[in-house]
Amino acid sequence: MPTAIDRDQVRQLLAGDAQLVEVLPKEDYEDEHLPGAINIPLKTLDAETANALQPDRPVIVYCYDYQ
């Protein structure tokens, strides 16, 4: 089960080798995103698009808020 984390834990993981993924649509990502994040919209998230990520490193996903 994915681990829920807060802002401080995000920063700690990013200080390591974590990968950061915004799963909102491209337009939202282009408007604003966290530094270093890549964009894989939820609707396109499959085995092919997930190839942009390295499976042996931590992955942090986020969207806008709890919705």
Binding site: M1, P2, T3, A4, I5, D6, R7, Q9, V10, L13, A18, V21, E22, V23, L24, Y29, E30, D31, E32, H33, L34, P35, I40, L42, L45, D46, A47, A50, L53, P55, R57, P58, V59, I60, V61, Y62, C63, Y64, D65, Y66, Q67
Partner: protein, 166 residues
């Protein structure tokens, strides 16, 4: 949305998946850097003054008034011991009698904005409500500082000048 994405990644074989469900709304509300077409420089957080005077609800007006005026301000925010904004002492309230407590004199619950709020919208709000400043708080209500209308208007003017030069 992010819990579904996290779950899907696990289905795809990823074993170290973390869900930052509070997302970029939370990140921006703490004034942390944002990139993109609407980066941090277009947000309130880049123009906050943090030397604004604050006091507690149990402070005495005589003490607060002296502190505020000697710091060169004419208003003061009231916070609890955690820094959460409770109220505002405006110009009129600051003239309250010496033995009155701040809690008795303050205006409750001033409207605040987050550091991630867009600067042009903050200026519009201050103009519409005839305010000279806006308190800026994090999503947990803790005071970050104050956005002054004059400085914000100048920043907007400077940025529109830069755009027209490009």
């Amino acid at each position: 949305m992010s819990p579904r994405a996290a779950s899907r990644l696990e289905t795809l074989g990823f074993t170290q998946v973390y869900d930052y469900a509070a997302g970029k709304a939370d990140w921006g509300s703490f004034g942390l850097p944002i990139e993109g077409r609407r980066p941090s420089a277009t947000r309130v957080g880049a123009y906050i003054r943090t030397d604004f005077p604050a006091c507690g609800p149990d402070d005495r007006m005589a003490d607060v008034r002296e502190r505020v005026r000697s710091a060169g301000w004419d208003t003061c925010l009231v916070t609890d011991r955690h820094g959460v904004v409770l109220g505002l002492l405006g110009r009129t309230a600051l003239t309250a009698e010496d033995d009155v407590s701040v809690a008795e004199a303050m205006t409750l619950g001033p409207r605040t904005v987050r550091p991630s709020f867009e600067l042009d919208k903050a200026v519009e709000r201050m103009r519409n409500q005839n305010l000279t400043s806006l308190p800026v708080t994090r999503s947990d209500g803790v005071l970050v500082g104050v956005l002054e209308r004059e400085a914000a208007e100048q920043a907007l003017e400077d940025s529109s000048g830069l755009r027209s030069e490009l």
